[in-house]
Symmetry: C2
Subunit: 527 residues, 2 copies
């Protein structure tokens, strides 16, 4: 192992839950859902998107902005009346009140008796206090952030490891939210000129594994919501960076989980810009009227497509190779948050809260699964594009820049999905169209806008949970698998335990053990 | 640019189609679908998987093998009777006859008047002739393969570029199938000991872009089904590697598309093993009885889950980080092939042929979207595991190896999905279970088994298309987007063209152009 290496181990403690149910906030919402369903049956079902798109006033009314960021919802299967009914649904479901409760630190994660305060991670110094157990969380957050920045600064200024060599290579070890978020941001920024210059001569790698072997203790630092446990693991206390249990793994990329590896690699000032972008989105989410509020609109249309129009999936399609891991990040953020069937009060949900999310960068996706989206099943799609390229290039003799050619596809695909094309002589070429999508156009793919984008998707997830009534911040569904894995692990070491498995699992485990035995024998006999 | 660099540009020519429809092969199949539906209504719908799994004889009857590869279908929502009805469906749909027609080079890609002969790519020298336009394809395939191996061997033996430096770094430029397959195989093998040793000191990178700039001509080679076009592009004729138009992009990883970059990086002998594994799967597919035929069983259960049980999605979950790009490869292979709504004869399909495919390596997925699979929507899942680790490790003091701990999860998750768990006091913790999955256990993740796995998924895609009746080998749905992108590209350079766009696209394009103008002005004024 290179001794220029610094290992960052990241873990999220799962504390024992405190049950504390709030009174149900449901109520008049059923009427709002019913009104939407009636509207769809009367006005939407029989109307093709190519006809809706003929109405310029409607198109303009379904296009929104936050500063220089545009959200075009005109290719949703919606009219101005749909938007009015969606706003009424938001009203009936108390979206604004629930948002405010989340932002001020109420215990909105009811099944675990916790707040969900990822927004506090990026609040400025001197922000209005947010109390958890009577204490303002901002001080602790800024304290840890300062320590992480100082640590990163020291390492970056030529800090040496236990063998006297400069530390230039960072390996971040983590799983789920401890990996997907930071890896996504790393990929997004490593080709961005300012971030790339700041990372010159350095490397950052991510490892997800079930049981990493321990390395040189002095080269280990840890990020955990359970500081004591990390210290017990053998990491020097100065090298442990904590965060509150009010930050879930999938919402933690703005915490030390992201701050430590990303500030080590790109430097604190790039990470500060990443926080600033998220903060701008937080401010917009907190203050913009619901019917002009980007994350609220995304949540409303998400719920509309899934629960009213009945689409089970959603595609996230960034037109930027640098966002190659953004779909995987959103997949975790959204599916782990809203992949639930019960409301916070324990009652069954009226519909499935969460969709199945998938995606790849648009250019590769177009030559891959878009075929199905055009001619097979309809999948509501979210196109994400940028006005500027991270690396402008213009091939000699071509009328357009490379980025213009890429963006021509970004502009064209939503129309191909919406408009479709008839070919009566060649039925295999016909595209039915009427497939909804929305387009998000941002000025450039830098640290600030990546921060904004991540926060935008965090908030849309919360909004969608407000609309359905589920708790977006727990993840009890992953527990059963862990318990059963423990049982199988016992069985792998103990034949009596193996006999207790069901016959199907027993058969597979036997095949696995047989192979292991055969390969050990092959090694022993020198074959 | 490093002059140690060799650029491999890969493109698939899309020739003008020849329409040549075969007579419809449908017929008695409707009765077979109906029988399955009746069986589900009577025997399956009200039966929980945890009850089905109590029957040891059933579990054994639903577990299959091809050599040392196990396919466990006992966690499908199926009985022995289901299997019998699925085999009858396969019979009624003429799966064996269609398979044979594909393998012998019939024009099964009817809308383009082409064969689908990816299997010929890995046939041994001296295999029974497969004729296309009267000539045996094997000679041309082996001739090109020999040239690719010789070229790779020369470069790897110390071949120098135009500046006299050794060529050690390869950049493969391609999109869709010209990228996803080779990239998937590269990722799968780069940590495999034999492949890694063979690639020491070399690098291979993949670029997908819409318009790569041309580099030093002498450092360019090309893989194309249109050899003339590649030569016209300026590539030296000796550096052009062709393949027949009977190989579609998504089926091309065993062609020079994969052979050139992978043999340059890992050497010809590793690539030969990759072909051997695929050939073993081809032989099994061609000769095993349908009810023991792994790709046929995968196709039958795929069709059953999607068209009879009504699940729109399928998750591909490899328990190996090295297979991180396998889900993206399968996503293209499957969704581009079967994402269709019309049969080969132009009639509408009875149901959606293709599912929406997504996935991530199991360890990260468990801490991500599995939550939704356990407690939200049901998603049929395909678990892929290996008996041996590519890099065995055993942490000091732990009873199990790292690989055993990983595999404990591989064995446990299918049970968690199938069995579920009731928690009446805590409804938010309950998992309903009854979620189908299947498990594929292979001995090890080496070139041979990656080849087998890729071919296995290729053939399952074909089988599923045989069952539904669609043409798996064309992709007309991607054409409309290309045409519209051309129109937008014109509009980006010409205001008159822009005026002809619909108001929604016009609005977005205007925002894009406004930003470009503003940033040019900002540069001009030095701000």
């Amino acid at each position: 192992m290179s001794l220029r290496l610094l290992l960052v181990a990241v873990a999220h403690a799962r504390l024992a839950p405190i049950r504390q149910r709030a009174a149900s906030l449901r109520g008049g919402a059923d009427a709002a859902w019913d009104a939407l369903r009636a509207h769809v049956a009367a006005d939407i079902e029989s109307t093709h998107l190519r006809d809706l798109l003929r109405d310029d006033a409607r198109n303009a009314a379904l296009t929104f902005a936050c500063g220089d960021i545009t959200l075009d919802c005109s290719r949703q299967r919606a009219t101005v009346e749909t938007l009015r009914l969606l706003a009424a649904l938001g009203e009936a479901r108390g979206v604004a009140a629930k948002r405010d409760a989340m932002l001020r630190g109420d215990l909105v994660n009811e099944s675990e008796g916790r707040a969900a305060l990822h927004t506090a991670l990026r609040a400025p110094r001197g922000a209005a206090p947010v109390l958890v157990d009577g204490a303002d969380v901002h001080a602790a957050i800024h304290d840890t952030l300062d320590r992480a920045y100082a640590f990163a600064g020291k390492v970056r200024a030529g800090g040496v490891g236990s063998t006297g060599k400069m530390l230039t290579n960072v390996v971040a070890i983590g799983i789920g939210g401890s990996c997907l978020g930071p890896e996504c941001v790393y990929e997004a920024l490593r080709s961005e000129p300012a971030a790339q210059a700041a990372a010159a001569g350095r490397s950052l790698r991510f490892i997800s594994n079930v049981n990493p072997a321990m390395a040189v203790a002095g080269h280990f630092c840890a990020v955990s919501s359970d500081v004591e446990k990390a210290a017990n693991f053998g990491v020097e206390p100065d090298n442990v960076f904590g965060f509150g249990d009010y930050v879930g793994g999938r919402f933690s990329v703005h915490s030390p989980v992201g701050a430590l590896p990303l500030a080590l690699h790109f430097g604190p000032s790039i990470f500060r810009k990443f926080l600033e972008g998220a903060r701008a989105c937080d401010d917009h989410f907190a203050s913009a009227p619901l019917e002009e509020n980007l994350p609220v609109l995304l949540g409303l249309f998400g719920a509309y497509n899934s629960a009213v129009l009945g689409f089970p999936c959603r595609a996230v399609l960034p037109y930027a190779q640098a966002l190659s891991r953004f779909p995987a990040h959103v997949q975790q953020l959204d599916m782990e948050s809203n992949g639930k069937s019960v409301a916070s009060d324990g009652s069954a949900l009226a519909g499935d809260a969460g969709e199945i999310i998938f995606g790849e960068p648009g250019t590769n996706g177009q030559h891959s699964f878009y075929q199905l989206m055009h001619q097979g099943r309809a999948v509501p799609a979210e196109f994400i594009g940028f006005c500027e390229s991270q690396r402008p290039a213009h091939a000699k003799g071509r009328p357009l820049s490379c980025h213009d050619e890429l963006m021509a596809n970004f502009f064209a695909q939503p129309d191909a999905l919406a408009m479709g094309d008839v070919d009566e002589a060649h039925p295999e070429r016909a595209c039915p169209g009427n497939r909804p999508s929305l387009s998000l156009l941002l000025p450039r793919l830098d640290a600030y806008h990546v921060g904004f984008l991540v926060a935008l998707y965090e908030h849309r997830v919360a909004v969608q949970s407000f609309l359905f009534g589920n708790n977006a911040f727990d993840q009890w569904g992953v527990q059963l698998g862990k318990v059963l894995a423990g049982r199988v692990a016992d069985a792998l070491g103990d034949a009596a335990e193996a006999a207790a498995l069901n016959s199907s699992t027993r058969g597979l485990v036997a095949a696995y053990r047989r192979h292991a035995r055969a390969s050990i024998e092959a090694v022993a006999s020198g074959s």
